[in-house]
């Protein structure tokens, strides 16, 4: 007697909810100087599950957690350790994932692929980067062939230098435009906090300092409200003398963690999980490592093509602000104004910080909130650049839009 295995059909993937820790300054005097990286994700994951009592913990099929540096308190297969530390049942598996800055984004797209093809029903995806404990590139051992065979420019691993390289290649993206963009990011963030648009997704984290005792991190530490163009005009250009990239128009070194819940559309409905976004398409693409900031351009082109959409169909953009110039290059390519209101309406990484592998899920979490506030927008994009010359893009559909294509039936994916 033989049995025939079930052949799964493609399923929709929905974004249920995202949360994050407050982002802290990656310095010895920062919020999380004495807090472990893995504990940051654990707090995020526990809050995520606490917000969804309708989800039995043993229904989580995977915990995928990204980190750029996977050693020390970001080591030992983060996804699994986080699952154990967060008190998930022993039956819940997990793994660690890395695509540098797009680690969290890749945790989402990879598990989403699993959900779509029926390998998983519900997953937790997220990321963490404690840049204070794990300075970028520390302890890395790049293959000497990179340099000897000129596979990449010698300074392509220095992200600030790659941003200067974009200024070089595109002289019309001036320092003045970059500074203006950065100042606007700070202002938009401050307004979003005041309006309560940034805040509900933040998970308070108890922080201990041997000097000060226990405290509670409840808000981002890095934003500089009230930043003016004059105030940042004369900052040092640490990556090159007479350069254009400064601490004012780049994202600061950051500690933080994010986590989100993804599910198959029909499973979400069955469990009563809220649906905040539907994944439409995603793509990653490579560019020359020395201009890694251009990565979001080809990845977005690729994702749009896959989705059968054009840039004009996109009503909201969450672009990671590693550097202002890299966002400007993206906007420039797609013919969007520097101050287009659809782009990063709550501000971006220049204000709140960029804990590398965490940021992808932060973009999604904010887009989900913007979708709720903007039911007239049908499609939105989350995109980011990645070290060593990559870009990643995920296109999402707004379930609050009147023409929402739905997600409950397997065939609904064909409409997208």
């Amino acid at each position: 007697m033989t049995t025939t295995a079930r052949r799964p059909q493609l399923r929709d993937v929905v974004f249920v909810e995202g949360v994050r820790t407050p982002f802290g300054k990656a310095r010895p005097d920062g919020l999380y100087a004495e807090t472990r990286a893995d504990d940051l994700v654990v707090k995020a994951v526990r809050e995520l599950l606490r917000r969804h009592p309708e989800l039995p913990a043993d229904r989580v099929d995977e915990v995928a957690i990204a980190a750029t540096t996977q050693s020390g308190d970001q080591g030992i297969t983060l996804g699994r350790t986080v699952a154990v530390l967060a008190g998930l049942p022993a039956s819940v598996p997990g793994y660690a994932i890395d695509r540098m800055c797009a680690g969290g984004m890749t945790a989402v797209t990879t598990t989403a692929a699993g959900i779509a093809s029926g390998q998983q029903d519900v997953v937790v995806a997220g990321g963490v980067e404690h840049m204070g404990h794990h300075p970028m590139g520390f302890d890395a051992d790049p293959n000497p062939r990179f340099v000897s065979e000129r596979l990449v420019a010698p300074d392509a691993l220095n992200m600030g230098v790659t941003a200067e390289n974009i200024h070089d290649r595109m002289p019309h993206l001036t320092k003045e435009r970059a500074d203006a963009y950065a100042v606007a990011s700070q202002a938009k963030y401050a307004k979003a906090v005041a309006n309560g648009d940034v805040g509900p997704e933040i998970v308070p984290v108890a922080v201990r300092s041997a000097e000060l005792g226990w405290g509670l991190a409840t808000a981002d530490e890095l934003p500089r409200p009230g930043t003016t163009i004059a105030g940042i005009r004369d900052l040092k250009t640490p990556f090159r003398p007479g350069g254009r990239v400064t601490a004012g128009n780049a994202s600061p070194l950051t500690d933080g963690a994010t986590a989100c819940l993804l599910a198959a559309g029909d499973i979400a409905d069955g469990l009563g999980l809220p649906v905040r976004m539907r994944l439409v398409a995603s793509a990653f693409a490579g560019v020359a490592p020395e201009v890694m900031g251009l990565g979001p351009i080809p990845s977005t082109e690729k994702a749009l093509a896959r989705a059968g959409l054009t840039i004009d169909d996109i009503g909201l953009f969450e672009v990671n602000e590693a550097f202002a110039v890299q966002v400007l290059a993206f906007l420039d390519h797609f013919g969007l104004a520097d101050d287009d209101a659809r782009v990063n309406p709550y501000g971006g990484a220049i204000a709140m910080g960029h804990p590398l592998a965490s940021s992808g899920v932060r973009l999604m979490t904010q887009l989900a909130h913007e979708f709720e506030r903007n039911p007239q927008v049908r499609y939105g994009i989350t995109t980011m650049c990645v070290g060593l010359g990559q870009g990643g893009t995920v296109i999402w559909e707004n379930p609050h839009h009147p023409d929402y294509s739905g997600h409950t039936t397997p065939s609904s994916t064909q409409e997208a």
Partner: protein, 707 residues
């Protein structure tokens, strides 16, 4: 005189945190002694002073409306482990002792009616004065992984005198309060977090993964009025009185006024119902001061220090000398052998082979291991996997060749010297020259046992106590030729078995049996002379031993007791009395005790056994031995005198490094109470050592209030 060491000050660090949901600002105070997670924060005078200052500031801020709540928590793994006991035991005046209690109360009083709700977030160990901080707060949360919560004071000669005696019965009811303050300390068993929550010592149990975050969220709900914690009404006066009365009866039956602390604690409990907080706290201050100035308390702190420091045995060779142990042999498969095999398999995690002469005995030994393991699994004390591992690692055989690959072989055969010598001789032909041979003898000479071997240096004594799993002490015996390697290996093994090891020289009865059997012998001697069995059985009650003499006989088995007594008499002379009556009891197999009148009470001697000793005579008349018949105090005196003489001999013979090792042995091997300090502090403070030996055993002030 003990040195006064500098206080390791526990700081009170304050930070403001924003409570979720706009509930306002909570001032969060962290108790932190600045040391790592192996060194609990304790509260000394400077720490209390800082806490008082911070709390006073916070109350002022509360009055100004700057804060909505006050919270107290600790550095990771500890709220606080209570008062700094070492410092307490250096106090020299009653007034200073009174000051200590008052200072604590003054600090903790600030947590009551503070103008805003006060919270304790019990993130870890909270004992004594540490737990009392939490009890004085309006609300308490506890982390699911907090190591222990409890008020051990009455076990250390004190009372929970920073509010505990007043607050606990009000929080959990008088009946449970007696458990918290008297019963658990006597069992040395603090509460687990879940127990504490069920009991009502804390209000809510929260998962440790995000304990502080969730505690603050809970506090916010309390501040906003979304959570209301119901407090139980005071128990009615008749209930209160009945519970206190029953507890007093139990104390009289078990403690016999051998130490004051439990009685003082009970007095405080009795008064807690009607007293105002101020009155109750004043009564706590008075009790605390009296007790701090008592020898019983000082001896308890000394004993506590001995037991805590017992993991670093005095005189043990360097650890590096220990040989690796990968397989252990046990000669014999009797009860003791099987218990040792089980413990070794459990804690050393190496294969164990048990060998006896015939299949039946082997099967019985292996069967004991299996039954014990199954019992543990059944009670949820052992996982099925651990049970399977242990059962697979314990092997029984009749083939002595099975010992060939063992690094250590422990003999646990019948206590007959010639038999043990034969066993070792036979083993020497099988095992490698490096294999360590250990004996579990309780009274035979290890040196003689090794005498005819080619390698006598490999023989060492490892004397376990019955029941092996429960008894915390092991005497490691250094015979004449025992090598440092053999000794180091014995210490390494006992440490892995999680026993406290004391190094003893190869003298008859080592420490515990020598003194314990002496006590039994002296009691029986008095009976032989004419003291009534009931009088003699109760005579040692003022010492507060764990049980009366005949219950002890019953527990160790009268035959074993008699055997050791006879053996010690042969080796050490007639300081160890002969007892024809006892011999007859053993020969007849007569049970010597009656059942306990109630659970938890002692088993009294069966008056019917009087007959084997001849008639009981009036105290003072000339008895069977031609000396006056002793009354109870006379028996006690004769026992104390004999103990003093014997301790003197033992120190002269160099059986142990010094009096503290004798005390440690008696505390852990015989269960003698902390309030006696083992035994030498008691002999010193009652003047026995001065009277009998012409000198103190310990310097003045080490385990008593200095003159």
């Amino acid at each position: 005189m003990s040195e006064t060491r500098a206080e390791r000050v526990t700081r009170s660090l304050v930070r403001d945190v924003e409570l979720p949901g706009g509930a306002g600002t909570l001032a969060l105070l962290t108790l932190d002694n600045g040391l790592d997670h192996t060194k609990p924060s304790t509260l000394g005078p400077l720490g209390i002073a800082e806490l008082t200052e911070r709390l006073a500031e916070l109350r002022a801020r509360a009055a100004r409306g700057e804060i909505a709540a006050i919270g107290i928590t600790g550095k990771p793994y500890f709220l606080a482990a209570g008062a700094d006991l070492t410092a307490v035991s250096t106090i020299t005046t009653h007034e200073a002792a009174l000051g200590l209690g008052r200072a604590g109360h003054a600090a903790y009083e600030l947590l009551h009616d503070a103008g805003v709700p006060t919270f304790a977030f019990v993130n870890g160990l909270a004992l004594g004065g540490g737990l009392e901080i939490a009890l004085n707060c309006d609300y308490r949360t506890v982390a699911s992984d907090a190591a222990a919560l409890g008020l051990p004071e009455t076990g250390l000669g004190l009372v929970p005198g920073w509010g505990g005696a007043y607050l606990v019965p009000r929080l959990v009811g008088i009946e449970k309060a007696v458990d918290v303050i008297l019963t658990r300390p006597a069992q040395n068993k603090p509460y687990k977090p879940a127990e504490a929550a069920t009991l009502g010592l804390v209000d809510v149990l929260l998962d440790s993964a995000d304990f502080l975050e969730q505690s603050l969220a809970w506090a916010a709900r309390v501040v906003r009025g979304e959570v209301v914690v119901e407090r139980r009404p005071l128990d009615p006066q008749p209930v209160w009185d009945a519970v206190v009365g029953a507890a007093r009866q139990r104390l009289d039956a078990v403690v016999h006024r051998s130490r004051p602390a439990p009685y003082r604690a009970l007095d405080l409990l009795a008064g807690a119902r009607t007293a105002t907080r101020a009155e109750a706290f004043a009564a706590e201050d008075a009790a605390l001061a009296d007790l701090i100035m008592s020898d019983e308390m000082r001896a308890s702190v000394y004993a506590f220090g001995l037991v805590s420091g017992g993991k670093r045995p005095v005189g043990a060779p360097a650890r590096e000398l220990a040989r690796p142990v990968t397989r252990v042999g046990i000669v014999g498969a009797g009860l003791m052998a099987a218990q040792i095999a089980l413990l070794v398999a459990q804690r050393l995690g190496v294969p164990v082979v048990m060998r006896d002469l015939d299949e039946e005995r082997v099967a019985k030994g292996v069967g004991y291991v299996r039954t014990s393991v199954e019992k543990l699994v059944g009670r949820g004390r052992m996982t099925a996997d651990a049970a399977a591992r242990i059962l697979a690692s314990v092997e029984g055989t009749t083939d002595i060749q099975a010992f060939a690959a063992c690094d250590v072989v422990v003999e646990a055969v019948t206590e007959v010297l010639s038999l043990k010598k034969r066993v070792f001789a036979e083993l020497e032909g099988i095992v490698s020259p490096e294999t360590i041979l250990a004996t579990n003898t309780s009274a035979l000479s290890v040196t003689e046992m090794a005498a005819d071997l080619q390698h006598p240096e490999r023989v060492v004594g490892i004397h376990f106590f019955n029941p092996v799993a429960q008894m915390p002490l092991v005497e490691v015996v250094q015979a004449e030729h025992t090598s440092q390697e053999a000794l180091a290996t014995a210490f390494a093994i006992t440490s892995k078995l999680r026993k406290t090891a004391v190094l003893v020289r190869d003298r008859p009865g080592f420490v515990v049996n020598r003194l314990l059997v002496l006590v039994m012998g002296k009691v029986v001697e008095a009976i032989e002379n004419g003291t009534a069995v009931q009088v003699a059985d109760q005579a040692l009650a003022p010492l507060g031993f764990p049980m009366p003499t005949f219950e002890l006989f019953d527990l160790v088995g009268p035959a074993v007791g008699l055997h050791v007594l006879t053996s010690l008499r042969a080796d050490l002379g007639d300081r160890f009395p002969a007892s024809p009556g006892l011999e007859k009891l053993v020969a007849d197999g007569t049970r010597v005790v009656l059942d306990a009148p109630a659970p938890g009470l002692h088993r009294p001697v069966d008056p019917a056994i009087q007959g084997v000793f001849g008639p009981a005579l009036e105290a003072g008349v000339t008895g069977q031995h031609g000396t006056p018949v002793l009354d109870g105090p006379g028996v006690l005196d004769s026992v104390l005198t004999a103990l003093t003489v014997e301790v003197g001999h033992m120190l002269e013979e160099g059986v142990v490094a010094g009096p503290p090792q004798i005390d440690l042995c008696m505390i852990l091997g015989a269960g003698w109470g902390f309030h006696t300090g083992g035994i030498t502090p008691y002999l010193d403070r009652t003047g026995c050592s001065e009277r009998v030996l012409g000198r103190r055993l310990l310097p003045d002030g080490v385990a008593n209030v200095p003159a």
